[in-house]
């Protein structure tokens, strides 16, 4: 984190160096959720996801890994309320989620969602602009978020002048400004090179600690998932279901040095062992 003049987020009390206790409050509960699409041209049903059953604990960092096309993004859509499940239920903070994004949830999408006609500041402020907050508080929040993401000096710049990585950081800043209790990240670093991804991973961890929100990260990168998460959901090929949910047991204060831990390699190998067959299946199916 950089200079002064930052307004800290209101923190949710969590134990500082212990991993999330397994009896922590349930934040999101998904029971037997499936998603079946109807192909537009042929009219045939396409079973994209499920049945999926799992729970997100409050304040945890949860990753979902799986082969491409297994329905990871669909899962995120279901949790976010962007599309309703074909069967099963999803509950966020005890309330059912159907077809509408609940208050307190923010999503960072795979593609860059910057509005090209607004500068960086206005892009980040967009979410709270019409929510009745006074202008000075909006400014404080946005300044803090931009500082945090290293974009403070680019506040007046337009997205067309930024690189892809920076635009994605603007989108994360926009999500931060909303002060969500649940943040959903759909392969946000997919378009970035490896080194930037590692740095962004560290930033995401800092973000998670700073805000105390629950984070669900969708990724195809096993190392990223193992490095960053408290728990990892391993998904099968399409239609995606959870093969296993792996606990990493990392401390709350982890950083990229975690890669040195001997368990890191073992976890990676274990997950790849589960995913290898699924990935081969996914490769064969893709035309």
């Amino acid at each position: 984190m950089t200079t002064a003049r930052m307004v800290p987020f209101p923190r949710r009390p969590t134990a500082v160096s212990a991993p999330i206790a397994s009896d922590a409050k349930i934040h999101v509960a998904i029971k037997e959720a499936t998603r079946i699409f109807t192909a537009r041209d042929t009219g045939r049903p396409f079973h994209a996801l499920g049945p999926v059953t799992f729970e997100l604990r409050e304040g945890e960092f949860f990753s979902v890994v799986g082969p491409s096309g297994c329905g990871k993004s669909t899962l995120l859509d279901l949790v976010a309320g962007l599309c309703p499940p074909s069967s099963g239920t999803i509950h966020f903070e005890g309330n059912p989620v159907i077809g509408e994004v609940p208050d307190g949830v923010a999503v960072v999408f795979q593609e860059d969602a910057c509005f090209p006609w607004l500068n960086v500041f206005d892009n980040a402020a967009f979410g709270v602009r019409r929510s009745g907050l006074p202008e000075n508080e909006i400014k404080e929040r946005v300044d803090h978020a931009l500082h945090f993401m290293g974009l403070a000096s680019f506040a007046g710049v337009y997205p067309s002048q930024l690189s892809g990585g920076m635009r994605q950081r603007v989108c994360i800043a926009r999500a931060m400004v909303l002060r969500p209790r649940l943040m959903l990240l759909d392969e946000p670093f997919g378009a970035l090179d490896q080194q930037t991804r590692l740095l962004m991973g560290e930033e995401t961890l800092k973000l998670w600690r700073d805000t105390g929100s629950t984070i669900m990260l969708i990724t195809h990168s096993i190392d990223e998932a193992v490095l960053l998460s408290d728990r990892i959901g391993v998904m099968s090929s399409c239609p995606g279901t959870f093969i296993d949910i792996v606990e990493t047991g990392w401390s709350h204060e982890r950083d990229s040095q975690t890669a040195m831990d001997p368990r890191y390699g073992a976890l990676q190998a274990k997950i790849w062992g589960m995913l290898r067959e699924e990935s081969i299946k996914a490769l064969r199916v893709k035309s």
Binding site: R40, D41, Q110, E111, D112, A191
Partner: protein, 260 residues
């Protein structure tokens, strides 16, 4: 990573066999509207479909029609060749030299937007009344879009193709034949559609002013004599011709893009 737009998702959904039902629906709707308009404006002013098709038959059966058609075809064909060949050639030239392309592009766009009809007197003064004036009209209408489209096509050839030519050690001619031209063809065909229709328009307008023969002349004669059925008949024939060729080129364009 390219972002998905609604357009792409819609196109993915609709990328299936041609919908003949839609085409029939469209034709029926057009005929219906036409009949309605004809009833509204009066049959003498706007002939209805049946009268028009009858008139088309009368026109075609006229012994002189063949000569007029031949005249128009000759002029149109020549103008089209000039537009296509000249346009493609100049377009390739301008497209392959970055500086030349940059310099000429706004000039070409400006020429494209001038109402070329106002340049007709110059053409008439230079070529006199006759088939060369008609060909000139058609050519000046059609050559500019061909140049613009070909130039854009050549300039937008992805650099990786140029590198492929070098890694495969192809000569310039081989490179052009096996890689560059196939890569640029879809764009050129798109230009072809516009070039074709504009050349047709130019040739017709030329015939209306500068000729004693040809379909355009027939049209002008019908206008002078206020013969609505003939005007409609000729107009419909032209529309059908232009639309069918345009749709044919469109299918070719789609076919090329699918395999591209």
């Amino acid at each position: 990573m390219t972002s998905q737009t609604k357009l792409q998702s819609k196109m993915q959904a609709a990328a299936s066999a041609p919908r003949w039902g839609d085409a029939v629906l469209l034709i029926v709707a057009i005929l219906g509207l036409w009949a309605l308009a004809s009833w509204f404006f009066g049959v003498t002013n706007l002939p209805d479909p049946i009268r028009t098709f009858r008139q088309i038959w009368i026109e075609i059966s006229d012994p002189e029609f063949g000569d007029h058609l031949a005249e128009t075809s000759k002029a149109f064909g020549t103008a089209l060749c000039i537009s296509l060949i000249g346009g493609t050639f100049i377009g390739v030239l301008l497209g392959s030299r970055r500086l030349a392309g940059d310099v000429f592009e706004p000039l070409l766009i400006a020429l494209y937007s001038i109402p070329k009809i106002s340049l007709y007197p110059i053409v008439l003064l230079m070529f006199g009344l006759g088939i060369s004036a008609k060909i000139a009209f058609g050519a000046i209408h059609g050559i500019i879009p061909m140049v613009i489209f070909t130039m854009t096509a050549v300039r937008n050839i992805r650099p990786v193709y140029m590198r492929s030519i070098r890694t495969h050690r192809l000569t310039a001619w081989q490179g052009a034949a096996y890689i560059l031209i196939p890569a640029a063809v879809p764009e050129i065909v798109a230009g072809l559609r516009i070039g074709f229709s504009l050349t047709l328009l130019g040739t017709l307008l030329g015939e209306m002013f500068a000729s004693q023969r040809g379909i355009g002349h027939l049209l002008m004669r019908a206008i002078d004599r206020n013969e609505s059925p003939t005007i409609m008949a000729l107009a419909v024939m032209l529309f059908l011709f232009a639309t069918s060729v345009s749709l044919g080129l469109l299918q070719w364009d789609r076919y090329l893009r699918r395999s591209a």
